[in-house]
């Protein structure tokens, strides 16, 4: 445990405060909790995966954002980080991994290849993972610097905070999944 007093706590959500109580929306509390404990599933295939290794190692330390635990099982992960080129041969596997994740689940496409195929406009490369699964945040760069990956995670945190607890029941979300043929 650090003795430093320089610790930044997350801000409390909007609410009504009085002596001995604090009232706010359940959505905000759950969103706050979710946003600050996103368990990443690193789906690293190539160069960006090496930059993610740097992100999770001591220098950049992704644990500061509540992503301390790498979850290598899709069943227990919240955030799928797709890092690197996804070849067409790999696409069905990526989709299977996404389908195995339980709600709520979010996806970050890290790097140019995962976002759009990048420089590999070729017969064997999937031109962006959003062809097979829905994506929440795109991180540009080839590969992105660890700071950019962290910014991607922070942007996702903003999304997560503002989302409804019952996102999975919303018609938009159902429609989105249906457009990918994911039930």
């Amino acid at each position: 445990m650090s003795n430093s007093s320089d610790i930044k706590l997350v801000d409390a959500p909007e609410g009504v405060q009085g002596e001995g109580f604090f009232a706010t929306k359940l959505d905000s509390v759950v969103g706050l909790a979710r946003a600050n404990s996103l368990w990443p599933l690193p789906f690293a295939t190539s160069c960006c995966g090496i930059e993610f290794m740097a992100t999770m190692a001591s220098h950049y330390d992704v644990a500061r954002f509540g992503s301390e635990r790498m979850s290598f099982s899709p069943r227990q992960a919240d955030m799928l980080l797709v890092m690197g080129t996804i070849a067409k041969k790999m696409a069905p596997i990526l989709r299977q991994v996404y389908e195995q994740m339980s709600e709520p689940r979010w996806v970050i496409a890290v790097g140019a290849c995962a976002s759009s195929g990048g420089v590999f406009d070729t017969y064997s490369v999937l031109q962006g993972i959003d062809k097979v699964i829905p994506v929440d945040v795109y991180v540009p760069g080839c590969p992105p610097r660890p700071e950019q990956i962290l910014e991607g995670i922070m942007s996702l945190q903003e999304i997560v905070k503002s989302e409804s607890v019952r996102r999975r029941n919303s018609p938009e979300y159902k429609e989105l999944l249906a457009s990918y043929n994911i039930s």
Partner: protein, 178 residues
């Protein structure tokens, strides 16, 4: 004493006659052509002869020459290396454009296995006697041999590029996901 290129050339011509031809020094490597039917014998001789001792198969790759005459439209290029005398050698087998077939080298070098599969995957060159000749890098379902010059590089599924501005050509046959 280092192995002279003239020695290599003489030994090969003595043994194989007109099956080996076109000796030429390209930068630091002696290269020549081998009749595709004698490929395996030549490689065995290079490997096992007491003077030549090319003990290491560095590389196998294919090349497509669609503009050449029918019998020379494909080439398989072999790089070998003699570690004792530190001499490299390169030889090519030209193959027929309709029926590219050559013997496998897997009986001589275990490492040839995947390299030949890769060459098959890219060019559709058949390696006779290969233990498991199937695609290695691409999907089994793919029907084209992508490295042949007639197949385009680009993927047809990309929607964020306007074909007119990027000089893109048509889709690589039968290679669409979905």
């Amino acid at each position: 004493m280092a192995l002279e290129t003239t020695v290599i050339q003489d030994k090969l011509t003595d043994k194989f006659g007109d099956k080996v031809a076109g000796f030429v020094q390209q930068h630091d490597i002696l290269s020549f052509e081998v009749d595709s039917n004698s490929m395996n014998d030549v490689m065995r001789f290079l490997k096992e002869d007491d003077t030549l001792r090319f003990n290491f198969l560095t590389d196998i790759c294919g090349v497509h020459y669609p503009d050449f005459e029918k019998d020379r439209q494909f080439a398989v290029v072999y790089h070998m290396h003699n570690w004792m005398d530190n001499v490299r050698i390169r030889f090519k087998c030209f193959l027929n454009g309709d029926k590219p077939e050559v013997d496998t080298a897997t009986n001589l070098f275990l490492g040839a296995n995947w390299q030949e599969r890769e060459t098959y995957d890219f060019y559709g060159i058949i390696f006779k006697g290969h233990p498991q000749l199937k695609r290695i890098l691409n999907m089994d379902e793919m029907e084209s041999f992508p490295m042949r010059k007639e197949f385009p590089m680009e993927d047809g599924g990309r929607t964020d590029k306007d074909d007119r501005f990027f000089g893109r050509t048509t889709d690589n046959a039968n290679n669409n996901l979905k």
